[in-house]
């Protein structure tokens, strides 16, 4: 999966719900259609809920990596409305 070219990265491990999703959403807004954002998030509630919220916004989820340090990285391709 090393072929994923990341355009920007955001770390949401320093915030809690619902700011987790808001921070990811703001980062996605900075991107152009088709660009890829990697989002680092904590295990537990963020990884349970943030991917679904991003799907509901209409973006395309490519992959979820377990960083094996209690965090996960989600790769998202921006889709405009």
């Amino acid at each position: 999966m090393s072929e994923i070219k990341i355009d920007d990265t955001v770390d949401i491990t320093d915030v809690v719900c619902p700011v987790t999703f808001v921070k990811a959403k703001v980062a996605l807004e900075e991107l152009d259609e088709g660009q890829i954002l990697s989002i680092r998030m904590n295990d537990g509630e963020p990884v349970q809920n943030v991917p679904r919220s991003i799907k509901e916004e209409g973006h395309q989820i490519l992959k979820l990596d377990d960083n094996e340090d209690g965090t996960y990285t989600l790769y998202v391709k921006k889709v405009e409305d």
Partner: protein, 286 residues
């Protein structure tokens, strides 16, 4: 002498204050439209004390209605399509959360089901009160298990390998630990799955086939005694079977209950095995 039982049946609840009644409005699934609300407001100002009370089961009551104005109040409410509710030994307000029509978490159309149950059962005379509640998903905002019959929406999932990108989002979305991803294949442990639907709602490629259905609990009560309703059939897919099972529960209650006895205590007295058998028979009969 006023016929208090008749008034109670018609939704007029006797107050401490002599000749004053708190008028219960018929509400289905927690919805009232603007026209109804406007009329309720008008009636509360003209005939009550200018306020309403929202009950614990999504009802609306207009307190301080005077005994000698009851017919006038009923006529006024009817102009706004507002009908009095019921109290006493019969099927009460069918409650519902907003369900899949509005809520992203909803697995079933709770309001449509509440309307259907209301049409089928509301006000039916029984040995004691009988409550239905409909909640859209495992979040259980409507507290299904505190009702005599509680209905909870769920989704049964089946993984579709060809659509899956093995991202692992569903594995983490599942709160029951039912999903594992190994060697590019997803497996769902049906003994752990609680039909919450979080996996399929989170899946980026919609790689799950969804079957929407109902988790039905019986014998819930949340007053002087507290008991959580119990499920007999884990998941009911078919809408007609759901109605048959509801019919069976209410018929069992009508046939077996003593006056003033809630379903939970009828089941305890007559026997859980016997009750479960009647429910299963209704479910299995074509």
């Amino acid at each position: 002498m006023a016929d208090y039982a008749a008034l109670k049946k018609g939704g007029f609840m006797r107050q401490k204050q002599k000749n004053n009644f708190s008028l219960r409005i018929r509400v289905v699934g927690g919805h009232l439209d603007a026209k109804q609300l406007a009329k309720v407001a008008e009636v509360s100002e003209k005939y009550g004390e200018g306020y309403v009370h929202l009950t614990s089961r999504q009802g609306v009551e207009i307190p301080f209605i005077k005994l000698d104005q009851i017919d006038e109040v009923k006529a006024a409410l009817a102009e706004g399509d507002v009908v009095p509710g019921v109290c006493g030994p019969r099927v009460r307000t069918i409650t519902a959360c907003q369900g899949s029509a509005i809520c992203p978490s909803g697995c079933i159309n709770t309001y449509a089901l509440a309307e259907e149950l209301d049409e089928r059962y509301f006000g039916r005379e029984l040995p004691h009160k009988f409550k239905f509640g409909v909640t859209g998903c495992q979040n259980n905002c409507l507290k299904a298990e505190e009702n005599d019959v509680g209905i909870k929406g769920g989704i049964k999932v089946a993984w579709q390998e060809e659509k899956c990108i093995q991202c692992g989002v569903c594995v983490k979305a599942c709160r029951e630990g039912a999903i594992t991803l190994e060697d590019g294949k997803i497996s769902v442990d049906s003994s752990k799955c609680n039909f919450c639907g979080r996996c399929t709602k989170a899946c980026p490629t919609d790689a799950y086939d969804n079957t929407h259905g109902y988790i039905v609990s019986f014998g819930g009560i949340f007053g002087n005694h507290i008991n959580k309703g119990k499920t007999v059939i884990p998941f009911i897919e078919d809408h007609e079977k759901l109605l048959k099972v509801c019919d069976a529960a209410i018929n069992f209650f009508e046939k077996n209950a003593n006056a003033g006895e809630r379903l939970k205590f009828t089941i305890d007295r007559v026997g859980e095995d016997k009750f479960n058998k009647e429910i299963l028979e209704a479910y299995e009969n074509e």
